[in-house]
């Protein structure tokens, strides 16, 4: 009987705190979003599961000696996991559409306005009592507008580790919400006529150009923004492995098994940061709000930039493709395609939107480098 009493005392029932219960509900919510709603399930499923595990009383998953503690220490504290994901994403990315039409980079640049405007907004939020975001906090939050998960996690782990959980959750949630957030903004800023514009077919890009491209990107980053070289460097390594054609077995492993393994652990480690004391705060509400703003502003800036470019371009440019500049590859490009098809059933914008889409990845990595250099 005494043993049963000890067993009872070792159950969680006697030790649950409200915050842990609420966070478990958040974990279940993330699992629901991942499984039923299919919101970025590759990340949100492990994140949600990690949130469940880390909030179990007495289990100690995230305390010294616990599984999630080790995973976080080894993979996120060091920055290794997001960099490996970035290498894998590089190996998965085809820059052909961007090389064929390099001006699309300007759309990727414009969409970063979402990041920097949000940085300003986060600081302005300090006027509301209860918010006390530092510049570092604000930068880490603003990067959500980059719509790029590993970049956000990497920057947050450097600038504001205590906000990492909320930032990662917001980043992946909004990336999943791109099909809902973007279309109204895209439609509000364009006319039916503009949305109907068909674009010229892209030229073919040679293998040689695709090989030199990542090296050129790396070289420019080295020269002008060394703080961005971890992210950009690993991305370019992955892309070079892909395009060089001489290390296909390494490239395939980076695109598949390696990125899968790291994704499982990255998700669990991010989930381990979803504890009540770090997540159930006013800051989280601010982060959720600012993240939505960042996405909206980035989308708008991309579309407006595309309209501006269309005016000066001899070739027709459909301003919808500007929305793809926020990255969120390939979701944003698909959304562009869908909205374009609604306006004109013969208008296939997918390939044209891939250019600004991958440009947005580079753009937000560059923005992250700038923030590291100036704020970090």
């Amino acid at each position: 009987m005494e043993k049963l009493a000890i067993l009872w005392d070792s159950t969680a029932l006697a030790h649950f705190e409200t915050g842990q219960i609420v966070m478990m509900l958040v974990g279940f919510l993330l699992l629901y979003l991942a499984i039923v709603r299919k919101f970025e399930p590759l990340l949100l499923l492990p994140i949600g599961f990690g949130a469940l595990l880390t909030n179990i009383p007495l289990a100690g998953f995230s305390e010294a000696g616990g599984l999630l503690y080790y995973v976080y220490k080894v993979g996120i504290d060091t920055g290794v996991f997001p960099l490996l994901i970035f290498m894998g994403v590089g190996a998965l990315t085809d820059f052909g559409a961007l090389i064929a039409n390099p001006r699309m980079l300007l759309l990727g640049a414009a969409a970063q306005f979402g990041i920097f405007a949000t940085l300003f907004g986060a600081i302005a939020l300090n006027y509301i009592p209860g918010f006390e975001f530092t510049l570092k906090d604000a930068s880490a939050i603003a990067i959500i507008g980059g719509a790029d998960g590993p970049t956000a996690i990497f920057l947050a782990s450097k600038l504001a580790p205590e906000l990492l959980g909320a930032i990662a959750v917001a980043a992946y949630s909004y990336m999943a919400l791109v099909p809902i957030i973007q279309p109204p903004i895209m439609k509000a800023l364009t006319t039916q006529q503009e949305r109907e514009i068909e674009m010229l077919q892209l030229r073919e890009v040679s293998r040689r150009e695709k090989i030199i491209f990542p090296l050129a990107v790396l070289l420019l980053t080295i020269l002008f923004l060394p703080t961005a070289t971890p992210l950009v460097g690993m991305f370019c390594l992955g892309n070079l492995m892909r395009e060089s054609g001489v290390v296909d077995r390494l490239s395939n492993t980076a695109q598949n098994e390696l990125i899968n393994i790291v994704t499982i652990f990255l998700g669990l480690a991010v989930g381990s940061k979803l504890s009540a004391d770090k997540f159930l705060t006013l800051e989280t509400l601010g982060i959720l709000g600012l993240g939505a703003v960042a996405f909206a502003i980035g989308t708008a800036a991309g579309v407006l930039m595309a309209k501006l470019m269309a005016r000066f371009s001899s070739n027709p440019i459909n301003p919808l493709i500007g929305a793809a500049g926020v990255s969120a590859v390939p979701m944003a490009a698909r959304v562009v395609n869908k909205v374009g098809l609604q306006a004109n059933p013969h208008n296939f914008l997918l390939m044209h939107a891939m250019g600004p889409n991958v440009a947005g990845v580079l753009g937000s990595a560059v923005a992250a480098g700038i923030l590291l250099a100036l704020v970090g």
Partner: protein, 84 residues
Amino acid sequence: MQQDIGQLLIEAATLLVAGMTFVFLFLTLLIGAIHVIAWINQRLGAEPTIEHAVAAPAANPTEPSQGVISAISAAVHQYRKQHR
């Protein structure tokens, strides 16, 4: 020392009883849980076939947006209210 072993044996016997009791209780609870799951499943009606789910991956994550964000927001508010 023989006495010590005796005491250990008693402890082991208690472990035996307590352990088996707990294992049976726990797995019986799980039986109940499975019946509840089956009941819920029936109430929810036919699930979308897998074909459908595969054919339209990440297709229509419609309207939940408001729901999601506001659910998290509500949770935070709730919690903060209690812990002020």
